[in-house]
């Protein structure tokens, strides 16, 4: 009786574990955060360029700006926490400054 349920049981466990694992997978280490900040800086730069040429709507640029700011505040949070080494903190600050500058450039493209 048990043997017949085992394939479905196994799959269930796999699905459950995968879901749980993905929920628990939050990242959080500094190098990953730096990459994220740099990625968002590039995104905001591209958005500023697109905005300048009128490729995208202001409404859409606002949404990207919000997402960029969210990424920045998450980066800042990690930078000011005591989970990072001083060297990591420096790199994080530089990456954060890059994103902040990009956001400012996007702001200057106007509404």
């Amino acid at each position: 009786m048990m043997a017949r349920h085992s394939p479905s049981l196994l799959l269930w466990i796999a699905i459950l574990a995968t879901t749980l694992a993905s929920a628990g997978c939050g990242g959080g280490d500094a190098s990953k955060e730096i990459e994220t900040l740099q990625s968002w800086r590039a995104t905001i730069d591209l958005a500023a360029e697109a905005r300048l040429h009128g490729w995208v709507t202001p409404r859409y640029a606002d949404q990207l700006r919000d997402k960029g700011r969210k990424a920045l505040s998450q980066g800042d949070e990690l930078t000011s926490s005591d989970q990072v080494t001083p060297a990591e903190r420096d790199s994080l600050s530089i990456a954060g400054a890059g994103l902040r500058a990009a956001l400012a450039r996007l702001d200057r493209t106007g509404p």
């Binding site: 394939p7 995968t18 993905s22 997978c25 709507t57 409404r59 859409y60």
Partner: protein, 405 residues
Amino acid sequence: MKKIAEVALGVITGIGGFLEVGSLATSVQGGAEFGFQLGWAVLLGSISLMVLMEASGRLAAVSNRTLVDQLRERFGIRFFLLPLIVGFLVSLLVLSAEIGGVTLALQMATGIRFQLWALPIAFLAWLLLWRGTFGLVEKGASMLGLVSVVFAIGAAALHPRWTSVGAGLLPTPPAHDSARYWYLAVSILGASISPYLIMFYSSGAIEDGWTHDHLGINRVTAVLGNLFGGGLALMVLVVGALVFLPRHIHVDAYEQLALVLTPALSHPGFVFFLATLGITCFGTTLEIALAIAYLLAQGLGWQWSENMRPSQDSRFSTTYSLVILLAAIPILLGVNVLGLTNISMVLTAASLPVTVVPMVLLMNDRDVMGKSVNGVVANVALVALAVMSCAILLAALPLQLLGGG
């Protein structure tokens, strides 16, 4: 000429939507992080889907029963429970992600938060299913889905080195982040080879009354349609590779995706991206909602047809109505749609064995298939696919842990 047009129409409509939330997101992610290197996963995905669609269409045309019918009849309820539950849950997740895709397209276009679009979109989808016919869903979804050709135009405008694109079609080991590489490969495979598509396709063969005479059309549709769909997904990957990779943009949010066509096509690139995302996800929403209702109705022997009035198959029509509502709830609650998309694609890939392995047996069964049993080529392909799907199932959990973040 008229004949060619007919076949072309058949190919286009037979396959349903070409791109959807999963293939858009995973292909851009693949291109952004690994350039053209993951092109093979797109190719392998479309060849796999080609094999499965051809087989399930042939099964339906020859035996006059859908894949789901056969799974229940041949393997009994104890086994059938597995594809039933797994297929239901995974398709429900994908359905949710598709609704998320439509609502995000609307958010980016209007500035109104995507959560607020969840119920209106669910209602519209439900209304179309309630009032429309199978032909409307099938043809509407595919015809409007042709808007995704914009990715081919975008890719061409960026002048990629086509030899490099071609080189990516052969699998090579990654130079960095191998866990992420294989995770994205599995996601791309999951986005291409969806069980709901196979259920939808084989039910469509019954809805459209296929017989032995349709075996040729079935083959042409499966081959050409998937080459076309796979080709478009590859173009998405190419655009992602040329626009996001040099800028080191990793995709963390759907909002980033809408920039991907702007360097190549400027403002139309933005508009057509949103149109592609919104329309293809909406078309797929209709198809998955139907596929889930087909799965339940066929598995349990209820009356079913999208061409009947809801009152004639009330269990079937109630099922798709409830399913759409259920899938809209996570979006209403503001779930992270990109995360939902990625997890659904990996789970889709992991769920493949429950459909593919029994198919190997069905397609070789003379009681079911008569003279149309699998030949050597189809068998080698199907068995290889079954083995691959089992390997993916085993790898999915470790990859999600190591490469999903």
